[in-house]
């Protein structure tokens, strides 16, 4: 198995590493960097639990090899909050609306929703469903997730929203 040197930014921190060619980005994040918030539910690109922001776009880390992330800027769920003791507006809205139960799909949901709110601060219900349509949740029936994303959008539009705290370490 050939080994490859990679360098990438994850949650605002620079990492270098040597990885086997067949190592997925999901396994690299979870096992090499011990960022276990990114979950693997199907490992064939359907469930979305492993979603991360790859150069700002939501992607399935189970379908990307770690070597393909060489030079990339990655944000995982651990990088959504401004600091480990805090929550982003979106995360806080997930808590407020109880937009989760077992919490396993939640990191991927947050990433999908974050990507949506990064490009659209006033999404319609349909746009929200479209944005999370590739993320399977078995607990919630999606209702409280959609409500949480709507709440986050409204808070972000509001004057009280702490500016910038919605985005992850990616920008900070």
């Amino acid at each position: 198995m050939s080994q490859h040197e990679i360098a990438l930014s994850v949650n605002g921190r620079a990492y270098r590493g040597t990885v086997p060619a067949r190592l997925t980005l999901a396994d690299f994040l979870r096992e090499h960097l011990r960022l276990t918030g990114t979950h693997t539910g199907c490992e064939h690109g359907v469930c979305g639990a492993c979603s991360i922001l790859f150069d700002g776009k939501p992607m399935r880390s189970c379908l990307i090899f770690a070597v393909q992330a060489d030079g990339a800027t990655i944000t995982t769920v651990e990088g959504l909050a401004p600091d480990p003791a805090a929550l982003s507006v979106l995360q806080d809205c997930f808590w407020e609306m109880h937009a989760l139960q077992c919490g396993f799909c939640t990191p991927g949901m947050l990433i999908a929703a974050q990507a949506l709110l990064d490009r659209n601060r006033a999404p319609s219900d349909e746009e929200i469903r479209e944005a999370i349509g590739g993320n399977l949740c078995r607990c919630t029936g999606y209702k409280q997730i959609i409500d949480a994303i709507k709440l986050a959008a409204s808070r972000l539009q509001g004057a009280n929203a702490p500016a910038g705290s919605i985005t992850g370490a990616n920008n900070g």
Binding site: T36, G37, H44, Q101, C102, C105, I128, C139, T140, G141
Partner: protein, 800 residues
């Protein structure tokens, strides 16, 4: 207790456990990394049925990084077979196939290596010599005497068969104005959590102790694991502080854990077994009920249902698992929410060459509710009476509770009519009918489904002695303990893992309610199986009742002790003081008060100030028997199954695309009464999720096998789980009929939504198909199935 009397219960409160999950800081089993940990990959049988003639591991063992290959023969010599729910001693199951591989994907050997990837490489190098045998894949064929026997030693494929007659069934059928019969088919699906099952096991030779971390939801897991591994129960320590990524019944993983435990002990290093998705769907032994109902209904010309004959044939797959018992729980609500005079029920469980079943949300009640509600619709259709009128006429009335059904269970409480009427009002039912009729005039296939279903709750084991008289289990107790430290901080200990049900919030809210302390300040921890008090885990919608009741019981004991300590301090009798906000005051003079912190300090430091008979250190525990539990079935098979009955009335509008067969759902309204909701957001969430799960079972999800017995649904591209596109916006209409049997009037709700959605959706589809004179009672009603059915009707119409 009226809802407004609560200070924390029934209020919107942020669930305690959510915080760690939204931060990505959950601790799931796959997140554990023990030093030196090895990884397991499985060798799976490619045949539905085969004799194993030999296994050659040489090439696999030669691969660098491979540590061991374990075969079924070696494992079977070292562990006891997995316990079965019924009395069928010749049907034996081990974690790895022994002598025969009985279903496609059954694990035949396990490879242990330094990484999962290497283990998988090596698994492909294990050479198994199979002699393919003729499989049996159809449950009715399997019942025939000449069918190939999945377990030849057992003598037939019939694992369990029993008929109960409760009341004068034949007389009621003979006296009825009309009868009807039909067949309803619930195909094989399951709960399919997004996290697959996983386990890590570590043997500590110095302590002779096996540590186990597993994503489990299973009563008696630690006991059964120890027994299979031939260890004393106190030599296995199962850690319940592992977050479980969804379960809804199926995360039992006993065979996985026996295998991992055996390997950890044998190799002396920590071993991890994580299913991949294919293993989860195929060899994880977690498929669900697969049932043929033959329904007969006797009724009057006014639509009053007198009697039911139900024959349920369940294809349990290659091993007993929990499958036969899933025919048992529905006996506790065998006639649904209706007044039915007599019932005959024949339950048959047969083995076939398919993946074994595991417990699935509702434990068989969902399929039964589907068959019952389709029966009600057919009675209405046969008489030309409105479906709502038939339901209204047959629903048990509020003043009739407690109400005992023919099979012996007493429904604790309810107000079914009011819940149905509230749901109809919220749906604006006349407007919905007008919408449907307008859609039909526009050429669309539109329908409305109505389902009135029960959610028996409080998870008891009464089906076990009913299905196996040798099993005299009459308690499925649950416990909680509380400690208050010398400075007044409260810790509640619970005795099970959780898979999304919010048990930390539940325990904190209940203890906070009784002790009048803010639940946010209460920490909830999980014992491990050696330090735990008796628990039977969150099954059968039981934890609001059982953990809630146990935590309340422990808190009440503490409250009494606190009151006694303070009264003693004030020199007053207990009757002369009052507990208020965690402090104790003299009734005659509220200025005389002992504060919470002072009482905690007395209990921990000042024995000289403690009243006689009060132990130092403030702690209490409580073990709760299931309300109404504790008795064996009567000779004629009558038994109280679960204690509490929640009720749901679903109203759903559906349109079917004539070409694709795709069903679009919504509006979707559900009236729901599960008594007092400890945390409404949690209850609502489970109800929304249950409906989404029910939509899957109704329209999309099916584990398919082809004619030759091959398994076809091993990925999320073949087994379709509803996404945000398929699940409509659901509106819940709450109603509260408190249970008289529980601490706060709560009932269970973990199976809410799922127990009624397949029934309601199937009724909506049939209403939509009625203008084509089509009827279908087969789930899932996939787009392909409906599209073909509609096309055949359209063609025959054209020909006419």
């Amino acid at each position: 207790m009226a809802e407004q009397a609560f200070r924390y219960i029934a209020k919107k409160r942020r669930p305690k456990e959510d915080r760690r999950f939204i931060a990505g800081a959950g601790r799931f089993v796959a997140d554990l990394a023990l030093p030196g940990m090895l990884h397991v990959a499985l060798v799976a049988s490619p045949y539905p049925f085969a004799r194993i003639r030999g296994i050659d591991s040489e090439k696999a063992l030669a691969l660098p990084g491979v540590v061991a290959v374990l075969t079924g023969a070696e494992l079977a010599a070292g562990v006891d077979p997995i316990m079965s729910g019924v009395d069928a001693p010749k049907i034996r199951r081990w974690p790895l196939a022994h002598q025969f591989a009985r279903y496609p994907g059954e694990w035949v050997a396990a490879v242990v290596a330094e990484s999962r990837a290497v283990a998988e490489d090596a698994a492909e190098l294990v050479e198994v010599d199979y002699e393919p045998l003729t499989p049996v894949t159809d449950p009715e064929t399997a019942m025939r005497p000449d069918a190939p026997a999945v377990h030849p030693d057992h003598g037939s494929n019939v694992l369990f068969r029993k008929k109960w007659v409760w009341g004068a069934v034949e007389e009621d059928f003979a006296a009825a104005d009309q009868t009807l019969s039909f067949r309803a088919r619930w195909h094989r699906s399951s709960t399919v959590p997004i996290e697959t099952f996983g386990v890590v096991a570590q043997w500590n030779p110095a302590q002779q102790l096996l540590d186990v971390w597993a994503s489990i939801q299973m009563p008696k897991f630690a006991d059964q694991l120890a027994k299979a591994l031939r260890l004393s129960g106190n030599a296995v320590r199962v850690h319940f502080d592992v977050d479980v990524g969804g379960s809804y019944g199926v995360k039992r993983g006993l065979k996985h854990s026996i295998l991992a435990g055996f390997l950890a002990k044998k190799l002396g290093v920590p071993v991890r077994l994580m299913e991949d998705r294919l293993e989860n769907m195929r060899g994880g032994d977690a498929q669900g009920p697969d049932r043929i109902f033959d329904m007969q209904v006797a009724f009057s010309r006014e639509g009053i249902i007198r009697s039911l004959k139900i024959r349920a044939l369940d294809d349990c797959g290659a091993h007993a698992g929990r499958a036969p018992l899933q025919l048992g729980k529905p006996i506790g609500a065998i006639c649904g929410p209706y007044r039915v005079n007599s019932v005959e029920y024949e339950a048959i469980s047969v083995t076939t060459n398919k993946t074994p079943q595991e417990a699935v949300r509702g434990f068989g009640q969902g399929p039964t509710n589907f068959a019952l509600e389709n029966a009600v619709d057919r009675v209405a259709a046969a008489l030309g009476i409105d479906r709502l009128a038939v339901r209204r006429a047959n629903l048990i009335r509020a003043e009739e509770f407690p109400y005992t059904i023919p099979s012996g269970s007493t429904y604790d409480s309810g107000d079914f009519q009011t819940v149905l009427e509230k749901a109809l009002a919220a749906a604006d039912y006349p407007a919905l009918v007008a919408k449907r009729d307008a859609a039909r005039r526009a050429g669309k296939l539109a329908g409305i489904g109505i389902a009135c279903c029960l959610e028996p709750s409080g998870g008891n084991s009464a089906f076990e002695p009913l299905f196996n008289p040798k099993n005299e289990t009459t308690t499925w107790m649950e416990a909680a303990s509380i400690k208050i430290d010398g400075a007044g901080a409260v810790v509640v200990s619970i005795n099970t893992s959780s898979s999304g049900q919010g048990h930390e919030s539940l325990a904190a809210t209940v203890v906070g309610e009784v002790l009048e302390r803010e639940p946010e300040t209460i920490r909830v921890v999980r014992a491990d199986s050696l330090s735990a008090l008796p628990s039977n885990s969150p099954v059968g919608s039981r934890m609001a009742i059982m953990l809630g009741g146990a935590a309340a019981g422990a808190a009440k004991k503490l409250k009494e002790a606190i009151t006694a300590i303070a009264a003693h301090k004030l020199g007053l009798a207990a009757a002369e003081v009052e507990y208020r906000d965690g402090a104790v005051i003299a009734r005659a003079d509220p200025a005389k008060k002992v504060a919470w912190e002072a009482i905690a300090e007395i209990a921990h430091r000042k024995f000289h100030e403690l009243p006689p008979g009060i132990e130092p250190g403030l702690q209490a525990s409580h073990v709760l028997e299931v309300p109404t539990g504790g008795t064996l079935p009567s000779a004629d098979g009558r038994v109280q199954m679960y204690p509490c009955y929640a009720f749901e009335a679903h109203i759903v509008y559906a349109e079917i695309d004539r070409i694709t067969g795709q069903v679009a759902l919504g509006p979707y309204i559900v009236g729901h009464d599960c008594g007092v909701m400890i945390n409404p957001d949690i209850v609502h969430g489970m109800t929304y999720g249950g409906i989404a799960h029910g939509i899957g079972a109704a329209l999309y999800e099916r584990f398919r096998y082809d004619e030759s017995g091959q398994f076809l649904s091993g990925t999320f591209m073949d087994y379709l789980i509803p996404s945000a596109h398929e699940v409509p916006d659901v509106a819940i209409v709450d109603h509260c009929t408190p249970s008289p049997l529980t601490a706060f009037g709560q009932k269970g709700s973990g199976e809410a939504g799922y127990l009624g959605a397949p029934a309601a959706i199937s009724c909506a589809v049939n209403d939509a198909l009625a203008p084509l004179e089509l009827k279908i009672a087969e789930l899932p009603m996939t787009p392909g199935l409906l599209g073909d059915l509609i096309a055949s009707a359209d063609k025959s119409t054209t020909r006419r």
